[in-house]
């Protein structure tokens, strides 16, 4: 899958927003600095010019206009850094080193002004600068202007502002580069996620997100999503498996049913048979199919759920007592001895009905495989470990040690156990019930060979202590 254009990624957009904010605040900052420093330059010039004016006015006060004229000539040709101009009442220049008042309205006074200075330096080059000055009117009506060159101060301010602008541009460029870098990394990390999600969406439930092993939040998310995918895959698998199992279990009885109905129909049409027994048999077959269906459904549900939805505490011995009461007569009917040794207060958590069914299925098998004259024993007890066990022991042929493992495996693999009709389903249910309770199933040899019977089988359900 293609990476999205870098400029469309969220980190890049965030970078842009951040940069815009940064640029705006930097501009405001610069404007503030400019106003503050440029103002300072003018204020200081104003102060200096003010002092010079004061001193000249003191001269005027002492010696009148001639003394002032004299002082201004001296000062203008001296090395003072000021610009001087003395004008008559109509603002016509009298003396000074300025050609005319820089004020637009030369007769205005008192007044302040910023103006351009164009001068030639000793080498003859034209130097442009900026000046600041004040103009006052003397008591006798003449006008006096004093200014100063504020070019160097201004230039310093402008250099600082330019420097800050330059730094701002560099910061913005670096920021953009950083944003692109981060976006590219995020896009790469997310590309793994997107690839996996697209694969799952396309039907490949085995797709997983690579975990980079750097234990960052992407890894955390990847591990979480992989766990989820695993669960989904397992559930889908068990659903499919349940579907296959149902199809497998129902196909043969349904086929048989169909065949019988077909033959019966032919016979009835030919007039050799009475339809009633055929219909009755068909009904029985259908009942058997429904029963199988119910059992397979229960197993699949348990397997898909993986655990009991609302576990409740109950006494295993009570359940065992109930089921043994149900089966005792069956044993007697088959000429088997039935014994029950039930402990007390053996509390486990789970589903009472399912456990009862599991015990019933074990007793079913025991009665089925134990010959006449044999014995079936149901026991419940607490182990030293605190675990609770329910065991069914019979004196039937048992299962050879080598096969026990295999049989247990078959319990796990639903469909394989199903190849043996009848009991296979019962034990599959036991296995499913056991798994859903976090319990385990143990197979053991029975009491041994005696009178041509045996060695027998001991099936044990071991529940964790409640």
């Amino acid at each position: 899958m293609r990476l999205p254009s870098l400029t469309r990624t969220t980190p890049f957009r965030l970078t842009l927003v951040f940069m815009a904010l940064f640029a705006a605040s930097a501009a405001a900052f610069l404007a503030y600095i400019y106003v503050a420093t440029a103002g300072e330059v003018t204020r200081r010039a104003d102060e200096e010019v003010g002092r010079e004016l004061d001193s000249l006015q003191a001269v005027y006060a002492r010696g009148g206009l001639p003394a002032l004229n004299q002082a201004m000539i001296q000062r203008a040709v001296g090395d003072r850094p000021y610009l001087y101009l003395l004008m008559d009442k109509a603002a016509r220049p009298v003396t000074g080193n300025l050609a005319q008042s820089p004020l637009d309205d030369a007769t205005r006074a008192p007044a302040r002004a910023t103006f351009r200075i164009t001068d030639t330096d000793p080498d003859g080059a034209v130097v442009k600068s900026q000046g600041y000055g004040r103009q006052v009117r003397l008591p006798t009506g003449e006008l006096m202007f004093v200014g100063t060159d504020i070019g160097p101060g201004r230039a310093a301010v402008i250099r600082i502002v330019r420097a800050i602008w330059g730094a701002g541009v560099i910061v913005i460029l670096l920021g953009l580069a950083g944003g692109l870098f981060v976006s590219r990394n995020v896009s790469r990390a997310l590309a793994d996620f997107n690839r996996a999600v697209a694969a799952v969406a396309a039907g490949d439930l085995r797709a997983r997100i690579p975990v980079r092993g750097v234990r960052d939040e992407y890894d955390e998310l990847a591990v979480g999503l992989n766990g989820m995918l695993e669960r989904v895959e397992r559930l889908m698998g068990s659903m499919r498996h349940a579907g296959d199992a149902i199809a497998h279990d129902l196909r043969s009885p349904l086929t048989r049913l169909r065949a019988r109905l077909e033959v019966s129909l032919m016979e009835v049409q030919a007039g050799h048979a009475d339809p009633q027994p055929a219909l009755a048999t068909a009904l029985e077959d259908t009942d058997a199919v429904l029963k199988t269906f119910g059992a397979v459904l229960a197993i699949s549900r348990l397997q898909a759920a993986g655990s009991i939805a609302e576990p409740k505490a109950f006494d295993v011995s009570e359940v065992a007592a109930g089921v043994s009461e149900l089966y005792e007569v069956l044993c007697e009917e088959k000429g088997q001895d039935f014994g029950a040794e039930l402990g007390r207060g053996l509390i486990v958590r789970g589903d009472r009905d399912f456990v009862a069914q599991a015990v019933a299925n074990l007793l079913d098998n025991a009665v089925k495989y134990t010959p006449e004259g044999g014995a079936v024993m149901l026991r419940t007890r607490r182990r030293a470990s605190g675990e609770v066990e329910i065991s069914v022991t019979d004196t039937g042929p048992g299962i050879p040690g080598a096969d026990r493992e295999r049989v247990l495996e078959r319990f796990v693999r639903l469909e394989q156990s199903r190849s043996a009709p009848g009991s296979g389903l019962g034990l599959s249910l036991v296995a499913a019930v056991v798994a859903a309770h976090g319990a385990r199933l143990e197979l053991d040899e029975g009491p041994g060979v005696l009178d041509g019977h045996g060695p027998g089988l001991r099936t044990v359900l071991v529940f964790p202590a409640a």
């Binding site: 009755a280 009904l283 029985e284 259908t286 009942d287 429904l290 029963k291 269906f293 119910g294 059992a295 459904l297 229960a298 549900r301 939805a309 609302e310 109930g322 009461e325 149900l326 089966y327 007569v329 069956l330 009917e333 589903d351 009905d353 009862a356 069914q357 019933a360 299925n361 079913d364 009665v367 089925k368 009848g422 009991s423 389903l425 019962g426």
Partner: protein
């Protein structure tokens, strides 16, 4: 009996009705919860039993039954559901249903349960003495006699016979017996119920010419007076 079948699968409803009519009942169908509620409330009401599917469009079975119960309608209700979990059964019964049957079901099972529900309504009064033909059961002293002759029964046999006597003349299925007498909601692999029945039969029918406890092919058992 007048039976209302509320079921959204029209074909299933038709088949069910044919069977119910065959069994001697009158059957009316409704295709969803809302229609079912209308039929139950309507002038033509007065049903003996209602068979209600749980999952239906417009109004599900649970809501339908809850509504009827709130309105004071106590017609026995048999829930039908494709959900077989014990929890669903409990929820259905809590909603006010009287019995619960999981699809797919055998038709005799349905008939037997519908009969049992209708009968339960008729015999609302409390009896301390049950009497079916020659058979008498004293629920206080827990004594059972047939034609005056005492029959000794184990506690479970007594409960089994009590249930059969309360449903005398009706078919009861093995599943119903397992649910009502043993309180188990699963199908045993072998028909253990048959063994218990044959024991009981030995005790009540052995010394008499006329057997009272009948096997009903394809359905279960029936105690005849």
């Amino acid at each position: 009996m007048r039976i209302l079948v509320v079921e959204d699968d029209a074909e299933a409803a038709q088949a069910m009705c044919r069977g119910l009519v065959e069994a001697g009942h009158t059957c009316i169908t409704a295709v969803d919860g809302v229609k079912g509620l209308e039929a139950a409330r309507g002038g033509g009401g007065g049903f003996d039993v209602m068979v209600v599917d749980r999952m239906m469009p417009n109004m599900d079975g649970v809501t339908l039954v809850q509504t009827l119960r709130r309105e004071g309608d106590n017609t026995p209700v048999l829930f039908l559901s494709a959900l077989g979990e014990v929890d669903d059964r409990v929820k259905g019964l809590q909603a006010g249903a009287d019995d619960y049957l999981v699809k797919p079901y055998a038709f005799p099972e349905l008939i037997a349960r519908v009969d049992a529900l209708a009968r339960r309504r008729e015999t609302g009064s409390v009896h301390t003495l049950l009497k079916v033909g020659e058979l008498e059961m004293d629920l206080i002293s827990r004594g059972v006699t047939r034609a005056g002759k005492a029959i000794d029964l184990q506690p479970r046999e007594f409960q089994l016979l009590e249930y059969l006597m309360r449903h005398a003349g009706q078919s009861v299925t093995r599943t119903m017996l397992l649910e009502e007498v043993w309180h188990y909601h699963f199908d045993p692999q072998t028909n253990v119920i048959d063994v218990h029945i044959s024991r009981l039969r030995a005790k009540i029918d052995k010394d008499f010419d006329r057997p009272m406890l009948q096997t009903v092919r394809g359905a279960g058992y029936r105690l005849d007076g």
